[in-house]
């Protein structure tokens, strides 16, 4: 203690004006932090990234508030443990969403959960339950902790607000699982919730009288520093991790060239009007699909190299009905994708959606087989098989999807060939068969949460943004037996 310290002590003994004195209120700060924490966690604002920043700040505030109180009684200790677990779960959720882990776990569990707004992966439902359950337990611990303080002081517990909060937070669990939305329901609950939080804030005043035996726990990291470190960690994970996963792995194959043994089919297809340049890109096994062709319709359009927007392929579709011993006939569809040399390599992620028979005409269709073909800078022919899978889109239409990244070592254009077949339910009649092929191109190197092109494609068709661009080709086709097939129809 130096001379100045002694003078401060000596002079502060002379009474100041009473209005200048503020009695210390040790409960005010932790209870305030807890209230703000719960508020920021629960109220979600879905713009400017606030849906991430505010819950992150709320989580750390809840933890900080309970950290101060954890020595007071068992209730607070339990709530503190729950707050730590809650913070860990929240951070894990951010980590998972910044990387493909979320998708991997969702596909591992596989099953879906039906909400009033549509099915969601069961994994997301379980995750929601777990996180909210821990928050409910933390609120429960807080309630019991506050109760304990009043009882210890021989006072009547004034903890109705904390009890109400527990009930309300618990109520949010089934609401989230059922998918209840709309202001008519959420509005009154929100008002009630705000009233409870404000009442809880006022409890600190009662506690100032009841609980001055507060045994605040010493801390190793100051609250402010902890808050900024926590937010910084979130920022780092959100900013940096998606950069590591901006591309999908590419399974490049070097097909061995084989002698052309299907010159008959080739000549036949050329006669029917098959585009020569596209035909030149097909190998024997692909050509074999068209054996027994008796008609052809091509659609789509060609564009000059500089006409297409960035990352977008041009899409040309070819419809070829072929004779079939089992069904009488079936129709082979080829969607040809062409990326100009400027757009053929690198980039981030691409996705293809093939929506078949979306007008509901009954046909059986196969999942497309797809392949990308190009030449590398050394002049080698390369290929990547595209793996399609079937999944309903957000409107419930059965669609097929494939995700991929364009390889980096490309010389010249990139070509994609997608084949699928449609078998008629009634081979003796002419059926309409409509389909669309949509390409999605991810334009940005960063994206949070991690989203695959197929998810964007399944959720709808969107105008260009800084992150995504889409292009859709819709075609009207027909399934008609030989003699009844007319490519000019439809």
């Amino acid at each position: 203690m130096d001379e100045f310290d002694r003078l401060l002590y000596a002079n502060s003994q002379l009474p100041p004006e009473l209005t200048q004195l503020e009695p210390p209120r040790p409960w005010k700060k932790p209870i305030g932090q807890i209230c703000w924490g719960l508020a920021l966690i629960t109220i979600t604002l879905n713009f400017l990234g606030l849906n991430i920043i505010l819950p992150a700040a709320g989580t750390v505030l809840l933890w900080l508030g309970l950290r101060t109180l954890r020595r007071e009684n068992g209730g607070f200790r339990f709530a503190y443990a729950c707050a730590v677990l809650y913070a860990a779960l929240r951070l894990t959720a951010v980590l998972f969403q910044a990387t493909p882990l979320d998708h991997w776990l969702a596909s591992l569990i596989g099953r879906e959960w039906n909400t009033s707004t549509g099915p969601v992966p069961l994994y997301y439902a379980l995750w929601t339950v777990l996180i909210q359950l821990v928050l409910v337990l933390a609120a429960g611990g807080l309630w019991q902790g506050l109760k304990g303080v009043f009882i210890q002081a021989g006072q009547k517990p004034r903890t109705a607000a904390a009890g109400g909060l527990v009930i309300l937070e618990a109520l949010m669990l089934p609401m989230a699982l059922i998918g209840l939305e709309g202001w008519l329901l959420v509005g009154p609950i929100l008002i009630l919730w705000v009233c409870l939080i404000m009442s809880l804030r006022k409890v600190s005043r009662s506690l100032d009288q009841a609980g001055y035996a507060l045994k605040a726990a010493p801390v190793r990291v100051s609250g402010g520093l902890a808050l900024w470190l926590w937010l910084g960690l979130h920022l780092l994970m959100i900013a940096a991790l998606p950069l590591l996963f901006s591309r999908l792995p590419t399974n490049i194959q070097m097909p061995t060239p084989v002698a052309d043994s299907n010159s008959t089919i080739r000549a036949q297809l050329l006669e029917l009007g098959f585009p020569e340049d596209i035909l030149a890109g097909l190998d024997d096994s692909e050509l074999a699909r068209f054996e027994g062709a008796y008609g052809l319709k091509k659609s789509g359009y060609r564009s000059k190299d500089d006409e297409f927007p960035d990352g977008m392929p041009e899409i040309i579709t070819v419809e070829v009905p072929v004779r079939d011993e089992r069904y009488g006939f079936h129709t082979v569809y080829l969607a040809y994708l062409y990326w100009t040399p400027n757009e053929a390599s690198g980039g981030y992620m691409e996705g293809i959606q093939v929506a078949q028979d979306y007008q509901g005409v009954t046909v059986r269709t196969t999942v497309p087989d797809g392949v990308l073909k190009w030449q590398d800078r050394a002049g080698n022919a390369c290929a990547i098989p595209l793996e399609f899978w079937r999944e309903a889109d957000s409107a419930g239409r059965p669609c097929c999807y494939a995700n991929f990244s364009l390889p980096k070592d490309v010389s010249g254009p990139m070509e994609g060939f997608l084949f699928w077949e449609a078998m008629p339910s009634f081979p003796e009649t002419v059926s309409v068969y409509n389909f669309s092929v949509t390409a999605a191109h991810r334009r940005s190197f960063w994206q949070y949460p991690y989203t695959l092109p197929s998810e964007i494609l399944a959720s709808g068709f969107y105008p260009p943004s800084w992150q995504w661009r889409m292009y859709r080709w819709t075609s009207e086709g027909q399934l008609a037996p030989e003699g009844m097939y007319d490519p000019r129809k439809y």
């Binding site: 401060l8 700060k29 101060t68 190793r220």
Partner: protein, 180 residues
Amino acid sequence: MEDVQLVHALQTHQDGAMEQFQTAYTPLLRYIIAPILPDERDREECLSDVLLRVWNSIGAFDPGKAALTTWLTHLTRNAALNRRRANERRREGGNLDETLPDAADGPEQSFLKGETARMLWAAVGRLGRRDRELFLRKYYYYQPTAQIAAELGLTLRAAEGKLYRIRKHLREELGGVFHG
């Protein structure tokens, strides 16, 4: 019972008012006394003394001037300090705590001290809310820095750093007053 009703009950010496007061405010009084008086027996005696003072002087309390808690903490803190000072004086051959003021000030010295204190409190009043709270806890309520740090969610080092900056600021603002 609200503060206003409790004060009224105490002022009119209603039955049970003191019991209610004790239930509601004893933890607060203990909290104020604890850092000033280290001995448990001293604390209990001081608490009894404060309760008696409240009973006797509640009539002088004006709710328009200050909140009940402010008045109580002021009263309690002064009572605890007086006891501590008396203990120091009683201690045979003991040294007086240098932080405690000399009781034998003359009128001129008292005036000067009063003037210095007025300037100090004016400077404290100009501090930010958080700094003012820290100052009051440390120099008015005599709370140990470790307690202040824990209750405010600060590390001991951070609390010491903040107090150092407050002292430095006050030293600069008060300048010659405290050097003289």
